[in-house]
């Protein structure tokens, strides 16, 4: 640490001395903040530790790598729809024998399921053991009579958003068109009135503000998949970016 000069005797040094001290303070403050942030990240909370130690029925870790547990869904933005059940319409179309459109009232008259599922956001948080209610995507395929050549599902949402999902994940038992989580309706930030749920892929694949389910033969990368995110998005393989 250099000795402070006699600024009364050498006033021409004052500006340079003050600037040097300012830069030092700024650098120290930035370093402190960065270290503090890193420490908070490294000190994993109990929920995250417990989830890391747990195993799913399929043998995989309950918590995919690089994730931490939250007890709620975090709003992540997006171009929201109007959120109204009154105007909601879901189009089921593409490679199906009987394409159809269903409104909110009749969506709730389709065979319903309630599934416990975890969701994993690509930004690093996961919400575990949510109770989701809705209609299985494979049930919609059954009702519309999917054609054998279909290989992918495109979840279509408000303002042109799309997400592509291989049938393997879209036809999982807990892959749903869902309108309720833990007994409550979704807030607009979370996709009200109806959103997708594809638990085994990163959560952006679970399109909010759903407007359509389209069955296609060839893969059609969607909104985020054409903007640098991974086309498949398996959280256990950390398929975050393309």
């Amino acid at each position: 640490m250099p000795e402070k000069p006699d600024l009364d005797r050498y006033p021409e040094l004052a500006e340079r001395w003050n600037r040097r001290n300012f830069i030092k303070s700024a650098a120290a403050g930035t370093a402190l903040m960065a270290l503090g942030g890193a420490f908070v990240r490294l000190a994993a909370d109990d929920l995250t530790k417990a989830a890391r130690a747990a195993t799913r029925p399929d043998g995989r870790s309950k918590l995919p790598p690089g994730q931490r547990v939250l007890e709620f869904l975090r709003p992540m933005g997006g171009d929201a729809g109007d959120g109204k059940s009154e105007t909601f319409k879901l189009r089921v179309h593409g490679l199906v024998k009987h394409p159809f459109e269903v409104d909110y009232d009749n969506l709730l008259k389709l065979p319903q399921v309630e599934k416990i599922a975890d969701v994993h956001c690509v930004t690093g948080w996961s919400m575990l053991d949510g109770k989701w209610k809705g209609v299985q995507i494979k049930k919609l395929a059954e009702v519309a009579e999917i054609k054998p050549e279909a290989r992918f599902v495109i979840l279509e949402a408000a303002n042109g958003f799309t997400a592509n999902i291989p049938l393997k994940e879209a036809f999982a038992d807990n892959a749903l068109i869902t309108y309720r989580l833990n007994g409550k309706p979704f807030a607009l930030d979370h996709g009200a009135p109806v959103r997708g749920l594809i638990p085994d892929l990163y959560f952006w694949k679970s399109s909010k503000w759903l407007t359509g389910v389209k069955f296609v033969k060839d893969d059609q990368p969607g909104f985020w998949e054409t903007r640098g995110y991974h086309n498949h998005a398996d959280p256990w393989k950390e398929e975050r970016y393309g």
Partner: protein, 247 residues
């Protein structure tokens, strides 16, 4: 010649100053919303303030007329007549304007509100140029302005405080930070914890064939070509509106 050089640098400084003034508004918008976007995993989308409260009411029987059910729930929530309402399954949804929504499911009523935050809500909206027409080009212009500010800054001052000493050191430091970060972090693929990935996925029992060779999963109930009976109708009691096939 000396005069020409002096004038050239003076023009550079004058433009740098004026463009700097002009850039302040854009800079504040992009900087503040950029910090919000950087921390979205911690803070979520801060554009909106959302609230939710729940309370219980006596169950409303299916036989209660819609208008009575709506009034019961609206009164319990302390709100007036809704703009619209939907009664579906075990739900009664009341939609109000200005982001207020009330949903009764059985005996539980949930009141959800959502309002855009004044500054950050607009700044975040502006930050992503998608679905905006003129703003896309205005923000392009701002980016060009920033490039001018960066490059003109290099040549504004000559001598030891310019490129001969301080300028070169600080420019190098500015480039070194991202270069070092990428080198130390191993680039985009280096962020992945390969050991953790292997461990998380390891216990999977059987190997799966490549995606292209994976047969389409079969449905639990195969689509029937026969005329469905009421019990066999996979759509339950839902009324579906037929659509023409996609082209």
């Amino acid at each position: 010649m000396v005069e020409v050089k002096k004038r050239w640098r003076a023009w550079l400084r004058a433009l740098h100053r004026d463009f700097g003034y002009a850039a302040i508004g854009f800079t504040v918008i992009y900087a503040v919303s950029g910090i919000a976007q950087n921390h979205i995993e911690d803070w979520g989308d801060v554009s909106y303030k959302a609230t939710e409260r729940t309370f219980s009411i006596p169950a409303i029987a299916d036989s209660v007329p819609d208008a009575v059910a709506v009034k019961t729930v609206a009164d319990a929530a302390g709100l007036g007549v809704p703009q619209s309402s939907t009664r579906a399954g075990d739900e009664l949804r009341l939609e109000y304007g200005d982001g207020v929504k009330v949903t009764a499911i059985g005996m539980t009523v949930t009141v959800q509100t959502r309002t855009r935050r004044a500054f950050i809500g607009i700044a975040n909206w502006l930050h992503t140029a998608r679905h905006k027409k003129a703003w896309k080009y205005l923000s392009d212009a701002f980016a060009v302005l920033l490039l001018y500010l960066a490059f003109s800054g290099i040549f504004m001052i000559k001598g030891k405080l310019g490129l001969k000493w301080r300028g070169t050191i600080l420019i190098s430091a500015g480039f070194a930070v991202p270069v070092l970060y990428v080198a130390l972090a191993g680039g985009p693929d280096g962020q992945r914890d390969t050991d953790a990935i292997a461990k998380a996925a390891a216990p999977r029992a059987k190997s799966t064939p490549p995606e292209a060779l994976t047969p389409a999963p079969t449905l639990t109930t195969p689509p029937s070509e026969a005329t469905p009976t009421i019990d066999a109708n996979p759509a339950g009691s839902a009324v579906l509106v037929p659509l023409p096939p996609d082209e």
